[in-house]
């Protein structure tokens, strides 16, 4: 990794010179990349400095870590729920995974890609296919982007969602081709209507057989096509290959990742530099995220509105607690983010778009149930260890409070946490 970005915001953050590295900086990293962490872990990580905090976020715990066993069981629960057609079971299975994952970065990215390649169970209806797509985002969401894009193009849920399954040689369906360019790889303005039409021809024959990807040569249009300036008897693979090398694709994905984890981009040069950085790390998502997480831009960034999943999972992880998955899903629906059912192929809202009168009430109602703790519908469970109010505030909101109080019982801790969760300070990351 010899690429040294020129943009000042992309230079590595040097604690001491560029600013401090303490509990608040560690909290910002953990809350944005891993749905937060309980107070004791946050303080422990922060005391070890920036490089080790990054390690704790970006390196997968070893396979021998005992926490993996319970987590893997949750994955099987989700698969079983899908097979019996139980969408709520799948949703709550995923939510509990996010609460308990030993490597929450991977779950945070599975959420990011679910939003980017937004596919809804309401149309797909094949729940095992939705569950397999979720596993794809979990397993490949930190790898190389071209590989992820290729796998998504062959994904059964996506083929159903964007009508690839009904596209034929005589009548190519343009739905997937259009969104592939507009939403998944390039962004509007970087392809033409003809590119969409020809791309749809290249993907003909990409069908399903017994619910799995299958190439049907009899339905493939092997005629000559021109897509994004390349001419030939192009196949779907060729279009994906063009995108894998397309500079605008690197920039589009890099900017989207930056926007989600760091903040909005006003500056053209920053966008260009981010694209170059993504190429320099060979479009490897984890390497890219690690670079932006350690950049000056990250630590200087303004607050971001937490989406409902980040907000709810963040509250529960920040407490070091567990909660009823199905009850969390109940609240997520009211806050506007039902897992496996994004509102459209463009995904969920961002920023202040999350906050409406109804979702503001929903966040307060969630906070009310956090305060009720074990007795409330959320059925919160937590090992009864005392915690300083100030450390709890740091874990829940990213900022400490002056109050030196120590909370001894879980009931007190849940009540205090409910107060934080009901305040808009906890709604931002």
């Amino acid at each position: 990794m010899t690429h040294a970005p020129k943009h000042p915001l992309l230079r590595p953050y040097r604690p001491g010179t560029d600013g401090p590295f303490g509990p608040e900086q560690a909290a910002k990293l953990l809350r944005r990349f891993t749905f937060g962490a309980p107070p004791e872990r946050l303080l422990d990580v922060a005391s070890q400095g920036l490089p080790r905090t990054l390690g704790a976020i970006f390196e997968r715990p070893p396979a021998g870590d005992p926490r993996w066993k319970a987590y893997r069981r949750l994955l099987t629960h989700g698969d079983r729920a899908a097979r019996r057609g139980d969408l709520e079971g799948m949703q709550s299975g995923w939510v509990v995974r996010m609460m308990m994952s030993p490597f929450p970065l991977a779950e945070r990215l599975s959420l990011f890609w679910h939003d980017h390649f937004a596919t809804a169970a309401s149309k797909v209806t094949d729940l095992p296919a939705m569950q397999r797509q979720n596993r794809l985002f979990l397993d490949a969401g930190l790898g190389k982007f071209p590989a992820l894009l290729g796998a998504v193009a062959r994904d059964a849920a996506m083929l159903i969602w964007l009508d690839g399954v009904t596209s034929s040689k005589a009548h190519p369906n343009e739905n997937f081709a259009r969104e592939l360019f507009e939403l998944f790889s390039l962004g509007i303005g970087h392809y033409t209507e003809d590119d969409v039409k020809e791309c749809a021809r290249a993907f003909t024959g990409w069908r399903l057989k017994k619910g799995r990807f299958h190439f049907d040569p009899s339905q493939h249009d092997d005629g000559e096509k021109t897509v994004l300036g390349v001419t030939g008897p192009l196949k779907g693979e060729d279009v994906l290959e063009i995108l894998a090398r397309h500079p605008r694709c690197a920039r589009f994905i890099a900017v989207k990742l930056w926007t989600a984890f760091v903040g909005p981009i006003e500056d053209e040069t920053l966008g260009r530099e981010l694209g170059r950085l993504f190429d320099a790390v060979k479009r490897d998502i984890r390497s890219f995220l690690r670079r932006i997480a350690s950049s000056r831009g990250f630590f200087l960034a303004e607050p971001l509105v937490a989406g409902p999943v980040e907000f709810a999972i963040g509250a529960i992880r920040g407490l070091g607690a567990r909660a009823s998955g199905s009850r969390v899903v109940h609240h997520l629906k009211r806050m506007g983010q039902e897992p496996f059912n994004p509102p459209s192929v463009a995904g969920w809202p961002t920023g202040l778009g999350w906050i409406t009168s109804a979702t503001a009430v929903a966040r307060e109602n969630f906070a009310g149930e956090i305060a009720q703790g074990t007795d409330g519908h959320l059925n919160l469970r937590r090992r009864e260890t005392p915690v300083d109010l100030s450390a709890l505030a740091l874990a829940m909101t990213g900022h400490a409070v002056r109050d030196p109080a120590r909370l001894e019982t879980n009931a007190d801790i849940f009540r205090a946490a409910g107060r934080f969760v009901g305040q808009p300070q906890q709604w931002i990351l």
Binding site: D163, H171, E174, V305, I355, S357, E364, A367, W427
Partner: protein, 394 residues
């Protein structure tokens, strides 16, 4: 034209407070004529791109049969609107408002510079522009700002983000899916003792706090709206439930208001023969329910419902028994003061625009008339290129 005295001001004259009334507002406004109610404008978006040719059907045109071999609606089942056009049979509940002259049908509304992307097309529609990237302001927000109006309520009845059309408005938008959505059920403890986290937030935090305050304030009005709900007039479709919420809000309105509600699923690339009639049925029965409820609530005269979609669809059906993204498509306007009938020319299937219906009326002209005629806003500019041939209200 628009009422000069709104309820709040009138009650002020009577010496009654704005809230905590001892007087039933329905009685004050009882009967026809007399005191008017503040104007109420409802936008109903058929999201996904509603297929024009299978909604308002060119019932005698042989070209329609040729373009729609699989999907064509059989001529005898089409409900005639005039010599050329007819409704899809699932729109039967809308025939009586049409015959009574309270429903206007605009067959081919579109943009002079159409875009076939859902998002770009709807963004442009909401922005009241024809060719803008990343619009920052919606046409309702802009019209309110330019007319310097703050006496208006904006409601988004549904889930998801606040619609772009309201952006830039001098009033916050209230979002809800049902009246219960704005009910604080288990309020968390407030005002923590000395425990407010320090640190940044700034403008973003202030906006979040404003949203929270707005949501809490709505709770009071919801109680009255809940009592005004008459679900018996509605079918069980989710859209109908939302329209019932809107009717309750209209019945308790003290200010002019604009509402946004949507019915999704119109992106019928495949199996449209199955999906589209179901969507039309849900749309027509729900809208008919709203119109009946508004009559019962004596708010039919003060309300106008405007129905539109992302775009129309390709004239030629595709091989998946569906249709792909197209250009112009129909709009509907309904309400007691709407001058009904067909507005604009019938389709010209011989002269398609790259395989799509060509625009007959610019949607910005319809928006302009709605802002001016229904809401009586002043200082509006009409940027449209193909204008409505006549006013929309009678």
């Amino acid at each position: 034209m628009a009422p000069k005295i709104h309820r709040r001001r009138f009650l002020g004259l009577l010496g009654a407070g704005a809230l905590g009334l001892a007087i039933d507002p329905a009685r004050l406004h009882g009967g026809t004529g007399g005191l008017g109610h503040p104007p109420q404008l409802v936008f109903l978006q058929l999201t996904g791109g509603n297929d024009a040719l299978n909604t308002v059907i060119p019932r005698k045109d042989p070209l329609y049969r040729a373009l729609r071999k699989e999907l064509g609606v059989p001529a005898p089942t089409v409900l005639p609107l005039n010599e050329d056009l007819g409704f899809h049979p699932e729109l039967a509940p809308l025939m009586s408002p049409f015959e009574q002259g309270h429903l206007a049908v605009l067959p081919a509304v579109g943009s002079p510079r159409p875009n076939l992307s859902h998002f770009r097309s709807l963004d442009n529609w909401h922005a009241g522009r024809a060719d803008l990237e990343h619009p920052k302001e919606g046409f309702v927000g802009k019209a309110l700002r330019e007319a310097k109006t703050t006496h208006i309520d904006l409601f988004h009845v549904g889930e998801g983000p606040t619609p772009l059309m309201f952006r830039g408005a001098p009033r916050p938008v209230v979002s809800l899916s049902s009246l219960d959505d704005l009910t604080l059920r288990t309020p968390p403890p407030r005002s923590p003792k000395g425990a407010s986290p320090e640190g940044a937030g700034g403008e973003l935090l202030r906006r979040l706090e404003a949203a929270q305050t707005q949501a809490r304030a709505m709770n009071a009005r919801l109680e009255r709206a809940r009592k005004a709900t008459n679900s018996a007039l509605y079918p069980s479709f989710p859209l109908a439930k939302r329209l019932a919420v809107i009717a309750s809000l209209i019945a308790t309105a003290e200010e002019p208001a604009v509402y946004f509600v949507e019915l999704s699923g119109f992106d019928t690339h495949a199996s449209q023969d199955v999906a589209h009639p179901v969507l039309l049925r849900s749309f027509a029965h729900s809208l008919a329910g709203l119109l009946a409820d508004l009559r019962a609530k004596r708010r039919f005269e003060s309300t106008c419902v405007a129905v539109y979609s992302d775009f129309g669809r390709r004239a030629q059906e595709n091989a998946s028994r569906g249709t792909d993204h197209g250009k112009a498509g129909p709009m509907f306007l309904a309400g007691g003061r709407v001058a009904g009938g067909v507005i604009g020319r019938p389709y010209d299937l011989e002269n398609l625009d790259e395989g799509d219906l060509a625009m007959d009326i610019d949607y910005r002209s319809v928006q302009h008339h709605l802002m001016g005629e229904v809401l009586s806003l002043k200082n509006l500019k009409d940027p449209s290129e193909r204008k409505l041939p006549r006013p929309i209200l009678g």
